[in-house]
């Protein structure tokens, strides 16, 4: 229960900070600067989703985490790490051929990793973990 509340508080703080940053900025944003917002929104949305699941489990009197959810997280972490290696290889290969600033490329890489993690989590969460 406590973990779920902490996740919600952290997510809310990140959202508020992002909102203040977004609305107080007087400069116009370039398209690739939205990569930063993409990362924040994706990570916060995922955290809120996980927090919501934990809270609803706690409300039903169930443990917020059990052996299945831990196994799904382990599998997700290992597969997303493995796939991310190929993402960074691709980024390294294409970095010479495209003209973007280094921080933009790194931002895109981090966003890619977040997307890969979310996709892997969805894959294992719906497919299940059979250990076969």
């Amino acid at each position: 229960m406590k973990k779920g509340v902490v996740v919600f508080i952290v997510a809310a703080l990140v959202l508020i900070t992002t909102g203040i940053w977004f609305f107080s900025s007087t400069e116009s944003f370039k398209p690739f600067e939205f990569v930063g917002f993409g990362i924040i929104i994706l990570v916060v949305a995922f955290a809120v989703f996980i927090g919501f699941k934990r809270l609803s489990s706690a409300k039903r009197g169930e443990p917020p985490e059990d052996e299945l959810s831990k196994k799904v997280m382990q599998k997700t972490a290992s597969l997303s790490y493995y796939v991310s290696l190929y993402l960074w290889l691709a980024i390294m290969y294409f970095s010479d051929r495209i003209n973007y600033e280094t921080h933009t490329i790194i931002g895109a890489g981090i966003l890619g990793m977040a997307v890969i993690f979310a996709v892997c989590w969805l894959f294992f969460n719906f497919r299940g973990v059979r250990n076969e």
Binding site: E62, P63, S69, G128, R130
Partner: protein
């Protein structure tokens, strides 16, 4: 590996939520078990068998 959790649950008139609470897992885990999308740990298999007052091999069928 197949299992007869759904059959035993109906026999004991337990909902997925009731069984989840008894073995201290989330309802989602029971759903995955019944759909054969997850093979439980030995401890969880033992706990489920204990709830139904039977042996593990009566509930879980190894093929």
């Amino acid at each position: 590996m197949n299992n007869r959790i759904k059959e035993y649950r109906a026999r004991f008139n337990l909902t997925q939520e009731d069984l989840a609470k008894k073995v201290n897992v989330r309802r989602e885990t029971i759903v995955f078990l019944e759909k054969n999308k997850y093979n439980p740990s030995l401890k969880l298999a033992h706990d489920i068998a204990s709830v139904f007052g039977t042996r593990i091999e009566e509930i879980f069928i190894f093929e």
